[in-house]
């Protein structure tokens, strides 16, 4: 076992620090000046092979050989300098890798550069009112009419629905085929007649996701990724390249550090909560899980760097994060006490007190639903991880 990245990586870290010191000086730029500065910074970083590493040069990427350790050192160095990395969101994390793997050259040319530039913002059009966990039961349909798909139906719970310009969607194109084989993966421009978007308020009170209604919406016949009826497989394309990272461990660790900080700020039974034996126990109990998660992400990272399969633990990371997030929420609720009766002001506003933990307390619930519920995660662990037989009633043909 060795958690050091090695001399070459450390030399690279120094190179990065030099680069960042020289090129990431945002000063007091704001608004469009800051935006332009970030864009040129990203371009410079990409030209040196630091960003957009798995994207070919012809689309504006840096096309670097796969190097998990280098990618991690870049994340760490940029994180430390608070410098921007790639544009974030569904476009870069989900659509682009799928296009690279399964998309036609025309689609790659058309969509990768504006997504990298942040000009196209992508919605994930999977869930429907009648289809969530049972995603393959989707009914939103598309029919080919000449050189266009004509799309009718509804998508729901679309995150960032106010900002998205495009959607990658699962739609039913082969109504005669079996459940999974009737689905195709289409790209839809949302700026056209027939698209209606409506905000849905989340339990937090914010309009965090949207529903979309498609009424004879069209998309070109060749804006399909993979062949007709292959949409289910296409949507399962996982991101193979340099994906293993310890980002989620940093996020969970960060949340835990804030919880400890909170316990130091509030009082319980007349003394700092962090001096209360019950709270100390509860914190250390949670920390056992946080550390198990962090160390498991080291393990997954190491396996990825060695090009070995992630195994059972790879199926558990989401559940580990959401279950621990739940424990953090419960302890935070105890710690903030009466302040839990207050509504927090929106993030970024001044004067937020400990009631701001309500964001995490509620958000932890969203995390355990989005991207596959806790029950579905347990199904996956049991069936794919432990090899237990699939349930008969589910009609899974995939």
């Amino acid at each position: 076992m060795d958690l050091n990245y090695g001399a070459e990586a450390e030399a690279f870290r120094v190179e990065l620090a030099d680069f960042l010191a020289g090129h990431w000086q945002p000063g007091d730029r704001r608004g469009s000046a800051l935006k332009a500065y970030i864009a040129s910074f990203r371009q410079e970083a990409t030209s040196r092979g630091y960003l957009y590493r798995n994207i070919p040069k012809r689309y504006g990427g840096s096309e670097q050989p796969i190097d998990t350790v280098r990618a991690q050192v870049i994340r760490e160095a940029f994180g430390r300098a608070r410098a921007p990395m790639e544009v974030s969101g569904n476009g870069m994390s989900m659509l682009v890798p799928t296009l690279l793997d399964r998309g036609s050259d025309a689609l790659k040319d058309l969509f990768i550069p504006p997504t990298m530039a942040g000009d196209y913002v992508w919605g994930q059009g999977y869930s429907e009112p009648g289809s969530g966990s049972d995603l393959a039961s989707i009914r939103c349909r598309a029919e080919l009419a000449g050189d266009k798909w004509v799309i009718n139906g509804q998508k729901i719970w679309t995150s960032q629905g106010d900002r998205v310009t495009h959607m990658f969607a699962l739609v039913r194109t082969e109504p005669q085929a079996s459940k999974h084989a009737g689905i195709s993966y289409l790209i839809i421009d949302l700026d056209q007649p027939g698209v209606t978007r409506r905000p849905i308020r989340q339990m937090t009170g914010d309009a965090g996701f949207y529903e979309f209604f498609f009424d004879d919406v069209t998309t070109p016949a060749d804006w399909i990724v993979g062949a007709r009826g292959e949409g289910w497989q296409v949507s399962r394309t996982t991101l193979k390249h340099e994906r293993a990272n310890i980002g989620s461990a940093d996020a969970l660790g960060g949340q835990f550090a804030k919880l400890v900080e909170l316990a130091g700020q509030v009082t319980r039974f007349g003394r700092p909560a962090i001096k209360d034996p019950e709270i100390r126990q509860a914190l250390a109990r949670i920390e056992g899980w946080v550390l198990a998660h962090r160390c498991s992400s080291y393990r997954l990272f190491s396996l990825a760097a060695a090009d070995e399969p992630p195994g059972l633990v790879g199926l558990m990371m989401k559940l580990l994060v959401t279950e621990t997030g739940h424990d953090i929420a419960m302890l935070a609720q105890e710690l903030i006490g009466d302040e839990a009766m207050l509504e927090p002001a929106p993030p970024g506003t001044r004067g937020r007190g400990v009631e701001k933990w309500l964001d995490q307390i509620m958000g932890s619930l969203g995390n355990s639903i989005a991207g596959g519920t806790t029950n579905i995660q347990r199904n996956v662990i049991a069936e794919r991880g432990l090899g237990l037989p699939r349930e008969l009633a589910l009609g899974n043909d995939a």
Partner: protein, 355 residues
């Protein structure tokens, strides 16, 4: 950067697993638990013949010079196989002697490495070094210590002395062993009384070496717990695939599936935590002490919870003596309490963090 098992580490685990399964098969384990002895010579000899005793001892002492990470991986497999006797205690004694600068004690190293000299630990107090209470005067140790595994078989005792020191005592007429009724039949414990027993001091009270050995003992006990939890999970998954009710394998029922997934969620991520706690000691990382405390508390709790879930997942047969799951249930009772309860180590972790 490397944080997964090497071919060599896997090979050591395979060898230990195979040897233990041959020397202590299920049938033998069943008779052993009804046997009042606190030691099992055949399986002990078989494991020692593989080099277990010297795995982490220096090469000049007849060992293989491996680290705590390797030792933890070895113990994990032995916990899985419910290895009998004071194995962790024997290995710890070897480490203590090797790390001490006591030349006379070093004469025991070859016997410890070969496993021909059986050793165990008698620390006492409420487990923490500052509570150890045996007196060491004029090179002689006196007092009693409860919960000493494998004491009848032991020829050497690594004893905890008042103020938190460590000394080595040879068995003899000044050492009396009174077996205690033990829940864990594979690792029976005794009360050991020392009456002016001649001792070699290995570490004076307050020596930093004591903390390191204490932490190593925590990590190895956690390793045993992880292996035991893994065994309970594996048995439950195998049973769920083969046992049928309502005309189908019970593993098809979602309630049971989710119970098994939860058990797996307790076991698998804990493995990397164990590795880290051992690695942190091998490299003297600044958080080594906390990592050991958190690993012991977390993993011992997981073992208890997984053994309970395993028995539930088996139904009536799980509750039977004959089937044997209770062997690991009882080992979980041992691992949880031995060297201090999870709450004790969580409080230590809190203290060490400056909370």
């Amino acid at each position: 950067m490397r944080f997964h098992q090497s071919e060599e580490q896997l090979a050591i685990q395979d060898a230990l697993r195979g040897t233990l399964a041959d020397a202590l098969p299920a049938g033998r384990l069943r008779t052993l638990v009804d046997d009042p002895a606190d030691f099992d010579r055949p399986s002990w000899d078989a494991l020692m013949a593989l080099g277990l005793g010297g795995l982490a001892l220096p090469e000049e002492a007849g060992g293989s010079g491996l680290g705590l990470v390797d030792l933890a991986m070895a113990i994990e497999v032995l916990g899985d196989g419910a290895a009998a006797g004071p194995i962790v205690q024997h290995l710890l004694t070897g480490l203590a002697v090797a790390r001490s600068r006591n030349e006379a004690a070093a004469a025991h190293l070859p016997g410890l490495a070969a496993g021909t000299t059986v050793a165990t630990m008698a620390w006492g107090g409420d487990w923490l070094p500052e509570s150890w209470a045996l007196t060491l005067e004029d090179g002689k140790v006196s007092g009693s210590v409860r919960f000493v595994p494998g004491a009848s078989a032991a020829a050497l005792f690594l004893v905890g002395t008042a103020g938190g020191g460590l000394a080595l005592v040879s068995g003899g007429s000044q050492v009396t062993v009174a077996p205690m009724p033990s829940a864990d039949r594979s690792r029976r414990v005794s009360t050991v009384t020392f009456d002016r027993a001649p001792a070699a001091e290995l570490f004076a009270p307050g020596d930093a070496g004591v903390a390191g050995l204490f932490d190593a003992a925590l990590v190895l006990t956690a390793a045993d717990a992880l292996g035991g939890a893994q065994r309970c999970l594996d048995m439950s998954v195998a049973y769920a695939k083969e046992r049928e009710q309502f005309g189908q394998p019970i593993g098809r029922f979602q309630a049971l599936k989710h119970q098994l997934a939860t058990m797996a969620l307790e076991v698998e991520p804990a493995r990397a935590l164990l590795w880290y706690a051992a690695y942190a000691q091998d490299c003297s990382l600044p958080d080594a002490r906390r990592a050991a405390a958190l690993a012991k508390s977390h993993i011992a709790d997981r073992f208890v919870s997984v053994t309970r879930a395993a028995i539930a997942a088996h139904g009536g047969i799980g509750y039977s003596w004959e089937y044997g799951l209770n062997t690991w249930f009882r080992r979980a009772l041992f691992d949880r309490a031995y060297l201090g309860s999870p709450s004790l180590h969580r409080e230590r972790a809190a203290e060490l963090a400056g909370w």
